[in-house]
Every structure is written in C-alpha cells, then in structure tokens.
C-alpha cells in the first residue's frame, strides 16, 4: 500500500483524448437527433456510420498493440492496401451522394494502416532501426515511381489522346474526390508499399494474442469496411416493403373514383422509396386517369445512397375499358452501381372504377 499511496497519483479524468472523443460524440449525437427530428429518412444511417467509424477508431486506439500485431499480418496488410486503392478509385468515380461514406472509410483505413505499419513510413529517424530505415527508403523509391507513373502517366496520356480525354482530365481535377485521392497517394502511398512488402510480424515479435477487446475492435474494423457493401447489396436482395391505401372520392355523380397512394421501399440504410400517388375513375364504359398516371409521374423517388431511373412507363386502356398503368423503376446502389433491381408499380382499374391491382 505504501508504495502506491506515497508516490502514486490517480490518472487525470479529463485527458485531451477523452475531451476530443466527447466532443465528437456530442456533435454526432446532435446531428443524429436533428436528423431524426427532421424526419430525414436515411440520413441517420450515414451519421450512424460516421459514429461507428469514430467509435471503431477509438476502440482500435485503446488496443493498439494487440490490434497492431493482428493488423501486422501480411495478408491483412495487403488487404488494407487493396481496400485503400479501391477507396481511392471510388473517390474519383463516386457520385456526390456516396462521398461521405467513402471519405469515412478512407479515414478508418488510414488509421488501420497506421497501426498495421506502426507508422514506419513517417516515423522520426530515431524511432526506426537500420532494417526499418532500409525498408522504408526502398518503399519510398517504389512509391515514387508508382506515383509518378500512375498520376503523371494518366495525365500525359489524357493530354495527348484527344479532346474527350483532355476534357475528362480537366473535370477530374475540379472534383474534390480526385483531389483527396491525389493527396492520399501523395502522403500514404509509401506506407502502402511498406504494408505490402514487409513480411509477417512487422515489429513486435513478442506481441500477445489479441484479447476480447482487441477482437471486438478488429471485428468493428472489418464490419466498418464491409458494411457499405453489405448495405448496398441489401438494396438488391432484401425483400421490398410496400404500403398502399385506396380511398374512394366523390368528384362525379356518374363515375366511381379512387385516390391511390402506395410506396415501395427497398433496402435498409442504402434505400429507395418508389411512390405512386394518383386518382382514377370508371364510368361503366371505360376507366380513365384524373392525375398521377402520366409519363411525368414516372420520376424517381426518395433515395439514400441509391439512384432510381425509370426503366418502363406505360399507360394503356384495353378494349374492355380497363386502365393499366405500369411504372418500372431501376434502382441501383451508388457504391456498387453495377448491381440493380427493378421495382414495378402497377395500377389496374376496371371500367367500373374498381381497383383490380395496386400496386
């Protein structure tokens, strides 16, 4: 007891790191609350993802040695490098809607890469041994030519190829995502090469096996990396949820009219809502549209990290007086635009104004 009570002092409660974390958590919490109050359908998912990324980085920080030893495995490090390069490509190509996700993921991957390489590429001279010094110098040489060929080569080819490529390169450098990708390569490419070249057991050969907290931290890293892809895939594979109401309205003494409202929602977090809101009547001879069943009504819907394009839009009246309206919307996730599904909304009204099918 005496050894501790004489010289030992309790650690400070309010450290800089804790204050930073509290500030970030407060800001994110406030934004989440605002999004919820404002009824912004999918915004909470992006904010929640940001919060998760911050929490992951924080958790990773608290288990740096254990996580570093796991992240120091060659296969994991190479996976991080591939993920970082893919993220850079996404920064150049992604639409503005996906920007937040991609940047948040980039930050997290950079934190993970820092732990994986023990920030050897940018460490002070005194902090690295001779082998590490040699490795990082060699990595810089490889990174130098990779950067020069990748960036300089792209610009040079685009410059001399033709007007289309010249126009593209001018546009690329006006794009914020491209500038971030450029800076990422400029500052982090040597660390990526270190991560790629270094054999297993980067530094701490005596590192202990990861404990429960470290496992949680690493699982959070993995989840943060794959979550955007999972949510994007969910847009395509999860079942659609449809709500609809049909309400009779009296606007004509000789016709039966209905107001039709429906919404089909696909995906979770990465999601799209396809609405149909229309009025149609039947007078015993033929059904007709009052409003809401025109080509101009086949437009989009609410989306979150997704795009909606009209793939089909038709309205026909059959010989028996039945009105058929079909709106087929192609929904694609912004992050994985090669995936997609078609959501079809159908309205069928018979000549007496009865709803035969909706939606």
């Amino acid at each position: 007891m005496s050894a501790q009570t004489s010289g030992w002092r309790p650690p400070p409660v309010f450290t800089t790191a804790w204050i930073t974390f509290a500030l970030v958590a407060t800001v994110l919490g406030g934004l989440l609350l605002l999004a919820a109050l404002a009824g912004l359908a999918g915004s909470w998912v992006v904010l929640g993802y940001f919060a998760f990324v911050v929490l992951t980085a924080w958790t990773l920080r608290s288990v740096r040695e254990e996580a570093g030893s796991w992240l120091g495995r060659r296969a994991v490090r190479r996976g991080l490098v591939v993920a970082l390069l893919a993220d850079c490509v996404a920064l150049v190509a992604a639409s503005p809607g996906a920007f937040g996700f991609v940047v948040a993921l980039l930050v997290l991957l950079n934190v993970a890469l820092g732990w994986a390489t023990l920030r050897m590429a940018s460490a002070p001279e005194a902090a690295v041994d001779e082998r590490q010094e040699s490795l990082r110098n060699r990595s810089h040489r490889i990174a130098y030519w990779a950067f020069a060929l990748l960036v300089g080569g792209s610009i040079l080819v685009a410059q001399v190829a033709g007007p289309g490529s010249r126009s593209w390169i001018s546009g690329v450098f006006a794009n914020g995502g491209s500038l971030i990708a450029f800076c990422e390569l400029l500052f982090v490419l040597p660390a990526m090469v270190v991560a790629w070249l270094e054999p297993d057991h980067l530094a701490l050969e005596t590192a202990a096996a990861p404990g429960a907290r470290a496992r949680v931290a690493l699982a959070m890293v993995a989840l943060a990396i794959v979550l955007p892809a999972l949510l994007s895939a969910g847009l395509v594979v999860l079942p659609a949820r449809t709500t609809s109401t049909v309400q009779s309205v009296s606007i004509s003494p000789t016709s039966r009219c209905d107001e039709l409202m429906a919404e089909t929602q696909v995906g979770f977090g990465v999601e799209a809502r396809i609405p149909v809101h229309a009025m149609a009547c039947g007078d015993g001879r033929t059904a007709s549209e009052v409003w809401g069943l025109n080509r101009s009504d086949c437009v989009g819907g609410d989306t979150m990290l997704a795009t909606v394009a009209a793939a089909r839009c038709s309205r026909t009246t059959g010989p028996d007086g039945t009105l058929r309206f079909t709106y087929g919307a192609m929904v694609r996730p912004v992050l994985l635009p090669f995936l997609g599904r078609q959501v079809t909304m159908q309205v069928v009204i018979d000549r007496d104004g009865r709803v035969v099918r909706f939606p």
Binding site: V160, R166, F187
Partner: protein, 301 residues
C-alpha cells in the same frame, strides 16, 4: 563544369519560369532544352545513381539512392502543390490582364506538365547531387541530349495529327445579343503537337433574323443595317484570342466573315502553326463555320 548545387538551383529556376505567366511566344522549347542540358549535367555528375539498378550498386550506394527517393518523395509533393498553386494564380492574373480566360479547352497546360514532369523524373537525382560532396566530371552527354530532344520535339510537332479542342468547362454565354435576332455562341479549336505545340482557337457570336446571319461583337465585321447589337465585345467574338503558342508559333491568324446571296454566313479562321525558327514542318489550320439565315448550322469545326 557547373557546380552541382548551381545546376539544381538552375533546374528549379527554369521550372518556376515555366509555371509563371510569362508568355513563351512559341519559344517554350528553349527552357525545355535548357532543362535537358541541366539534367544531363546532373546525371553525369551523379553517375545516374538515382536510375541505377540495385544489383549494380554496393550497399552504401543503395542506401544513398533510396534515401534520396524518400526525401525526393516529400519534395515532389511540395513541388507539385506549389506548382499548381502558382499556376492557378498566374492563370487568374493572366486572364484578368488579357480580358478573360480562354474559351477553348486546350487540356492540362503543356508547360505545367513539363515542369512537374521534370520534378518527378529528376528530383531524386537532384537530391543526390545536392547532398553528395564530390565534384562532377566532364561529359559529352549534354551535347548529345540537347540536339536529340530538340529534333524529337520538332518532329513531334510536325508529324502529330492535328486534334480538335473542346469548349472550356469554365465558360458559358446565354441570351440574345442582338435585337430582333436569335444568337448562338460558337467556340472551337485545333491543337497541334498533342498539347505540346500550339492551339488555334475560334470564338464567334453568330445571330440570325430570318433574312441573314451575321457576326456580333467584332468591330472589324460590320452588322447588317438596322440591327442593334454589341459591336465590340471580345468575350463574344475575338480573332486569335484563344490561340496558345507555348511550344510552336502561330502566325497569320485571319478571321473572315462573308454572307452569300441567301443570307448564309461563312466564318473562316485561318492560321499557320510552325516549329519555332523553322519554316518547314508547319501546319496550315482552317476552321469554317456556316450558319444559315434561320440559324441552321451547315458546317462547324
């Protein structure tokens, strides 16, 4: 023999000159050849260490070379950022002085590319040259490299096919510029030397009123009687304003507007692009725009 630090400083000075707004008047090849000569001096003085294969070097040389790359990488980032900042600042100043930016998209500036390319290729050699203590040794390399690069560059200007230029992203004109007429703005260009030669541009505002098509904004081209519009506005119509002659000379630029009996406008821009100091290997550039009196475009560059 030039001292190596002096050569390094000279390379940096030439690069700074290239990204500055000083007009090159087709003589951009001069600083390029100066860079080639300085590069050859530096390569000879360092024994080409930065480009040497690892197996041909001893352990100390490998360490020196790789350290130069590490320092060079950081300097490259700094150099590119500085070059881009200076370039955009210079372009803004030049645009303000000359009454507006070019409406023709000539792509990434050739002189900026040369400067950043020089830094990218030579920075590790410059770091080695700056930090090594031994003196250089005489070499014939500059004497061979300079004429070789000059010949290759001039050949490229002469033989590279002429390309069409797009309209600049930063530009847009809307609205009618002459009373009682509909108008359209036409911008086009031809690039010689794949971005490392010269550009000839066309900038013209054409209006039509059902009786005739005519040019607006050029005081040298009168408008039809009774038509009220801008008689002198270089933003609308300017002959040679979008020419760019960094590495080749653009001469004899003429812009001629003629209206035939049907009221159809023929607007023709002609110029000759030649390598600096040479009468051979040039390109005659002609761009023709034909607009009918009801606004149909029959021909455009």
């Amino acid at each position: 023999m030039i001292a190596r630090p002096v050569s390094v400083l000279a390379v940096l000075a030439v690069c700074a000159f290239l990204v500055s707004p000083v007009p090159l008047r087709g003589l951009g090849l001069v600083p390029v050849l100066l860079l080639v000569a300085l590069d050859a001096v530096l390569l000879a003085a360092t024994g080409g260490l930065a480009f040497a294969r690892t197996r041909s070097l001893d352990e100390r040389q490998v360490a020196v070379r790789d350290l130069a790359y590490r320092r060079g990488y950081r300097l490259l980032g700094l150099g590119i950022v500085l070059a881009v900042i200076v370039w955009f600042g210079a372009a803004a100043v030049a645009g303000r002085l000359s009454g507006g930016l070019s409406q023709v998209d000539s792509g990434f500036s050739g002189r900026l590319l040369v400067a950043t390319g020089e830094l990218a290729v030579m920075l590790p050699t410059m770091v080695v040259a700056w930090s090594a203590r031994n003196g250089g040794r005489p070499t014939l390399l500059p004497g061979l490299a300079v004429p070789a690069v000059a010949a290759a560059w001039l050949l490229a200007i002469a033989l590279t096919p002429v390309q069409a230029a797009a309209v600049s992203h930063d530009f847009g004109i809307a609205g009618t510029m002459a009373s009682g007429s509909a108008c359209a703005h036409f911008v086009a260009g031809r690039i010689v030397g794949g971005g490392f030669g010269a550009t000839v541009g066309m900038r013209v505002e054409v209006c039509w009123n059902g009786r005739t098509a005519f040019v607006v904004g050029d005081p040298g081209i009168p408008m039809p009687p009774g038509v009220d519009g801008d008689t002198a506005d270089r933003v609308l119509t300017a002959c040679g304003a979008d020419n760019l002659e960094d590495f080749a000379v653009v001469s004899g630029t003429t812009c001629i507007a003629t209206v035939d009996a049907q009221g159809t406008l023929h607007y023709t821009v002609s110029a000759r692009v030649t390598p600096p100091g040479l009468a051979i290997g040039g390109h005659d550039i002609t761009m023709e725009l034909v607009v009918t009196r009801d606004g149909r475009v029959l021909s455009r560059p």
